[in-house]
């Protein structure tokens, strides 16, 4: 049985993520205080809420260091992807700093970017190798990595093009919500769970 830590940073809907993981046979464990995360096969940093509030809660719950030092597969979702970077323009927030770069507001006439959108130039093993599936996005900020090579999928909205997914080794992030993207989204989480299995076998 694969055990996935789902980090609770105080806002929003964790139920969907937990249910989606349970649905594919992983055990989701909600983590709302600082502890050793290395006993988990993978960590999901979910993504609803505002960046400033999320980082404040992670600090108060002493989860920053466990996340920064976690050695296994780590998946950031939406705001969770943004938290992986060094800082965010949203609430002028210092983030986890696991990936070099910052987070900026989307350049578009209507925000949030809300709804189903397609992903192009895919190189991430979490994403489908073929076709142009759509995923559910809801966000007003996007990652702006120092090195575009870590971008493993791109999305275009209005006149802006930004990372739909990022990847550096075992650290991955998706800007969309796999837990709200129907069967295509559940398949992304299945691939993440497979990655966790591989990591455990290798460990």
């Amino acid at each position: 049985m694969i055990h996935i830590a789902v980090i609770d940073h105080g806002a929003g809907n964790l139920v969907s993520m937990e249910q989606a993981l349970d649905d594919i046979g992983a055990t989701a464990v909600r983590i709302d205080e600082g502890q050793d995360l290395t006993r988990f096969d993978g960590v999901v940093l979910p993504g609803v809420g505002a960046t400033g509030a999320a980082m404040r809660t992670l600090r108060r719950r002493r989860l920053v260091d466990p996340l920064r030092t976690y050695p296994g597969p780590l998946l950031g979702v939406c705001v969770g992807l943004q938290l992986l970077f060094e800082r965010s323009d949203e609430d002028d927030t210092t983030c986890l700093g696991l990936l070099p770069g910052s987070v900026r507001r989307i350049a578009a006439s209507t925000l949030p970017h809300m709804g189903w959108n397609s992903i192009e130039d895919i190189s991430d093993p979490l994403l489908p190798a073929e076709g142009s599936p759509t995923f559910y996005f809801v966000h007003s900020y996007v990652a702006d990595p120092v090195d575009e090579a870590i971008v493993s999928g791109w999305t275009t909205y209005d006149t802006d093009r930004f990372p739909a997914s990022v990847r550096r080794g075992r650290i991955a992030g998706v800007q969309f919500h796999p837990e709200r993207s129907g069967p295509a989204g559940i398949a992304v989480l299945e691939r993440f769970v497979d990655e966790c299995k591989d990591h455990r076998r290798a460990a």
């Binding site: 806002a11 929003g12 249910q19 949030p112």
Partner: protein, 253 residues
């Protein structure tokens, strides 16, 4: 490219789906969890539950419905009706809602919008506006559409957006339940003033109505209830019709 969203709306009273005509004449239509699952399967881009009882018993029932739905329906879920405080909103989100709609309580206390946006992010704060035409424009109605509070609906939408709303759910009280088409003038007037997504609601009778509402300068998403509940159209057939009219919709697998 961002797809236009088709959102079936389930009006829920005491754990059952009902749909009124002009908000009054309620008819029982079914189990909300089963209906939400069926719509998601058929290609609904989101599901919306509106709790139209909004009594304290009804609210507890609603949270249980949200929990059961979130456990098996993996598309976004919006919940509205009877949300009065940040704590109410937190309870709905913790039950599994992705977005929460506030209506009367936000009119009484506009700071609620800002407080919810700060706590949870704008993206999950939907401000629902029930608007009715007057001689010179539209006014906001509260209490399920029964009370005209004399506030200009367009101004209120603009203010809600400034306060941190992530989306406007804009219902025409004149059109609701009539199947006569959305109030396009209302959509255009609000679109002109706000830069957050608008969900058109009230009056959908067929694909032409949805296509009209989703035309440039109007809505980003359409909400509809009775055309889906009674099998006049399926979500899939509506999407196919919209695609032939050149509107970008998510393909149904």
């Amino acid at each position: 490219m961002l797809r236009r969203r088709i959102i079936p709306c389930l009006d829920v009273a005491d754990g059952r789906v009902v749909k009124g005509t002009n908000f009054i004449d309620l008819v029982d239509e079914g189990d909300p969890v089963a209906m939400a699952a069926a719509y998601a399967e058929a290609g609904a881009d989101e599901i919306c539950f509106l709790d139209i009882t909004a009594t304290s018993d009804g609210r507890a029932t609603m949270l249980a419905t949200v929990r059961d739905t979130a456990a098996q329906v993996f598309v976004p879920l919006t919940v509205g009706g009877g949300i009065r405080t940040v704590a109410d909103m937190r309870a709905a989100l913790r039950a599994g809602a992705d977005k929460v709609a506030v209506n009367s309580a936000a009119v009484r206390n506009p700071r609620l919008i800002a407080a919810c946006a700060r706590a949870f992010g704008s993206q999950c704060v939907v401000v629902a506006i029930d608007a009715r035409r007057t001689a010179s424009g539209w006014t906001v109605h509260t209490k399920g559409g029964r009370t005209d509070i004399g506030i200009d609906a367009i101004e209120w939408a603009a203010r809600a957006a400034r306060l941190g709303a992530g989306e406007i759910l804009l219902t025409s009280m004149d059109r609701d339940g009539t199947n006569a088409g959305y109030d396009l003038g209302l959509l255009e007037a609000v679109r002109y003033r706000v830069d957050i997504p608008i969900i058109a609601s009230g009056g959908a009778g067929g694909p032409d109505h949805l296509a009209d509402a989703l035309a440039p300068g109007r809505a980003d998403a359409v909400l509809a209830a009775s055309i889906f509940h009674r099998d006049h159209y399926t979500v899939g057939s509506i999407k196919a019709e919209l695609a032939t009219r050149g509107i970008a919709v998510r393909e149904v697998a």
